[in-house]
Assembly symmetry: D3
Homo-oligomer: 238 residues x 6
């Protein structure tokens, strides 16, 4: 029932707060890797200011192009620790969200917004420190004429998001962790970071990834051949 309009679900099961707190410690790239390289939204989703970071449970919004009515409906559903996530029925880059809605969302406890449309009042939002990831920045206003949905599954920037899923966003983009997998993914992310810390030390000391990861044999089997220099290469091409 992706894309169904006319429904607002009041109560949704959210990922457990301990897992959310754990996931908040990791970056988007790490979590995506820890999930087997899944869960990312399309890379056109960018933060409105550098170093923005958010991790919360999704209140999902389905809206129509040029219409931001459902963001007001969603405000009522937001609980502390939530992040609002909006997908649209067709591609749109109007400025659906600005500082008034951000004031309301913050008052409700929301930690940010991920919107597959545009954001405006970005100077004010930056000053407020209210992080938004969007496909565009656009002063264009919207109407309030057609209902969508709140807290039904949505597609946002090419990713499937259920209400209550964990959404983590930073400079690298946005990733969604299904609520049922939150604990497992947080643990995998922690293991990955521990392992990387060791690798980082070795690489910083000048060791090569080729040796750290043991790639030389597989590269040779895959057909990589070393040539001494450009002259040798030219020679063999004659």
């Amino acid at each position: 029932m992706i894309g169904q309009s006319g429904i607002a679900v009041r109560n949704v099961l959210r990922a457990d707060s301990a897992s959310v707190a754990e996931l908040a410690k990791f970056g988007v790239a790490t979590i995506h890797e820890a999930m087997g390289r899944t869960g990312l939204l399309a890379p056109y989703m960018r933060p409105i200011y550098p170093r923005a970071k958010a991790c919360g449970t999704a209140v999902t919004i389905f809206a129509h192009p040029g219409d931001n009515w459902m963001l007001h409906v969603a405000a009522e559903m937001l609980k502390p620790g939530d992040i609002a996530v909006l997908g649209t029925s067709s591609e749109n880059a109007d400025g659906m969200f600005g500082d008034l809605l951000a004031t309301s969302f913050r008052a409700r406890g929301a930690v940010g917004l991920v919107i597959d449309a545009a954001c405006r009042d970005t100077a004010e939002l930056t000053e407020m420190g209210f992080p938004v990831w969007s496909r565009a920045i656009n002063g264009k206003g919207t109407v309030k004429a057609t209902v969508g949905s709140v807290n039904t599954p949505i597609i946002c920037a090419g990713a499937l998001i259920h209400p209550g899923d964990v959404v983590v966003a930073d400079d690298d983009g946005v990733v969604v962790v299904p609520k049922a997998r939150a604990a497992e993914v947080a643990a995998a992310a922690a293991r990955r970071e521990a392992k990387e810390a060791d690798v980082r030390k070795r690489l910083a000391a000048g060791e090569l990834g080729l040796d750290v990861y043991g790639m030389r044999d597989t590269l040779a089997k895959a057909g990589l051949r070393y040539v001494a220099d450009e002259a040798a290469l030219a020679e063999e091409r004659r």
Copy 2:
């Protein structure tokens, strides 16, 4: 006569300076709303540095792809408080404007540039604090071979701009106010801001937009239905 080449108009009627000063107090989104949601340039126009802000009377420039000759012609027409605005005869992203032209424009009193092409020397322009809104940043140089026009009506990023119109630009984009409407729009923007201040307070206190704006009835009439939770939703779908 949009797009006519070969003409430079020396004197144009500019919006009155009091209205320009008034409009300078407001953001792009507010002014766009105060004009009945009109006047915005396309959202691909972005400032070259964060927090850039400009408000001035337009000296319009019509140029050809890869040719920045008319920017030099325009320099002579610039008066203190003007903002240069450039449209092209076809889509182009060459670096038509850099720090030398910015030095000249500033010496003439210009407050900024809006260019539907690219800008270069952006590090120097940022240091100078000379704001530019452009479709791209590009080191690519241009020729000076074909004449366009200065101070004739142009289309820039999808908006119609007459010489002397007020152009306001900030982080949210660029908006044009026809000179004859400058006073009226400034007044409407002031009213809008006053009203928003009150709404902002109520939202910050936790009131919902649904109640502040009285949306609950219209939402219901438009077909929005509340469901208790996901179980109830699943139940009714059987």
Copy 3:
């Protein structure tokens, strides 16, 4: 043999270090002009943080979409002062490079990366001050399954780059200087900057480019006609 896979060339002739040091003094736009307006990469290549600047000799990398294996092979080839430059066999925006590879590249002495794909861990890279120019920022991870090449000629963002060429990158984009022309281009850039310094002074004093560059006659010959004002223009159109 552009795009050939399976070869890694160990030793390449690099541009002489004196010329590289000279070129490092100039911006991308200046160098591009000094080369007769050639050498630029496409403007979609953007630095991951403002004010990034790098100048080095190219270690070239040819990679396949979604596969960053060759970046590890390239690490071994990097010498102090090198800049890694990566082109792909088809358009791709996956996050091929992150903080671990940056740690390794820096340990080898590399001064930066130009990658016609995406970069991730951008917050960490910014903190490290390791500059990257890329077509996108994307948390998306990659596989290590298919070999490409290192230190063979590549096309990166529409420009032809040979190993050992000088690559200069800043806020305005990226430019490549063929190694054989490095000294000549550095000298031309110096001459250009010297000339511009004088022009800048005159423009800052209020002189017009029309007079500084002597454009009035050529503009008239090219058909530019001055009109007193909008009324005069309307009159002649009757």
Copy 4:
């Protein structure tokens, strides 16, 4: 588990063939409307030749950029009446599918392909009459190095597709009907077409949609005002 790699599901529940046959009678736009305006893939998906039309049950494929291995795995899962549908782990426009795979797919009974990547050998495919909807046409070949999945839920061109769902495609694009809703949607489409036939007759006879659909009152309430002519409009603007 969207985007999970390494799994091929042999048997999936398909929509009932009677509903598929019913849905095949209608165009993409009609079915999308009959589903409450949901189910469409992004409009960048285009047929490789005009008047292409297909309706089948989905065998879903999840593939990595530049890698078409899973299309071979999918061939074994195809049954008569199926349509193959491929989504990727990141944006890619390589030519993953050509006339050899089409020969194999047709031999298995497949009625077409919907691929969020590119297609090649389009002249041969057109001659075969094997319809493909893709994001691009591209001669670029692919590797067979990394496994994805077959017959797990995928996102293709922004739409969620489960194995066994009905996928209908024509000149207007591609729509997916969840298998559980196939009969209901077919019935709704039939009702819609019946109603439209009557409207079409009235419109062809010169009646206005304003009257056929009874829009005049709602337009007036929504604020539409009629003005006699341009002079009257200019007059009231004074």
Copy 5:
């Protein structure tokens, strides 16, 4: 007042029918050249079938994203020989127009549609021979919720269009001729075509454009230098 909503103008002055008939004889490229290379809409506007051709007087429509209500209002304003032209308040690619509206438009005498949004039912429209130029083809349906305008000046695909202007469209795109200039432009187009006929004969006979247009001197003055062959070129580069 570009972009004003809420107004429908019943009667507009149209270009004289003799000039429209004259302009119908020429292609888009010829008319654009005859106007001093102005008047073209952006090249993303494409016909929905090859060899589509239309020339008519514009009934202009201003619509909001995802909302096709104003097309119904426009139907009433259409007179025989008109072409409907639609611009939007922000970028949108929903399928605002299909075969029912085309049936109505044709019954009113309209000769085609130019729409800066998408079209659907393209197979039916092709069969009807009702030509449409659009930015996309998309099955996506729209709502009827927000009023725009009919017969006020609009921006469509970057061009300014007044009601009653002549709009000519073919395989090469779309061009607008201001109504006051219709006769003059038709005459200039005729002169251009006459001249081209002669040039075409000479070129077909093997004469070079260099000689027909007398370009050799200007090329030399502009700096073009002929070199005998690649060896000579390599020689002088030493």
Copy 6:
């Protein structure tokens, strides 16, 4: 010296005509594969009409945005069997080529044009059967003001092309074969086609690619696991 302006080379070494005739027998995808999957131009290059096909030796053209002067210079260099190939100094989509130039090119014996800009008069070109591959179709005219080059190496749509190289183009795109490799690539293409003929027969008879190519073991080693059905999959996920 990519991108150097001001030079026209009269005589260039062309690939031998026997190899060109051989290569003309194969499609773009086959030749690209036969070259080790290299040589393709970017997929945005599309033929102006379906089933266009051309194979010739390149006369290369380097032009500036909005300026088609060099196409006239190139006409003189064209010999029977040549194909003109144009790259630009920066991205441009103006209509640089139309039916007059096509008349001239055909009179000189050219077999087609590949242009990284736009084409116009496409209806006339289609009627003439003069094939063009371009990035866009656009009525927009150009100036003749700035010199580029003819018969120097160029980058066109991301590929490096030397004068005299073989360029093959069809519905799938455009591929360049370096003149020194023409014979070798033609032979490899022939071998590939012979091999594919056999595979095609087996696939048409219902054999699976998995068996024809012997993929089952490598798929298993790469981690692909078969699951009986969706129930079994759900079971193991508990």
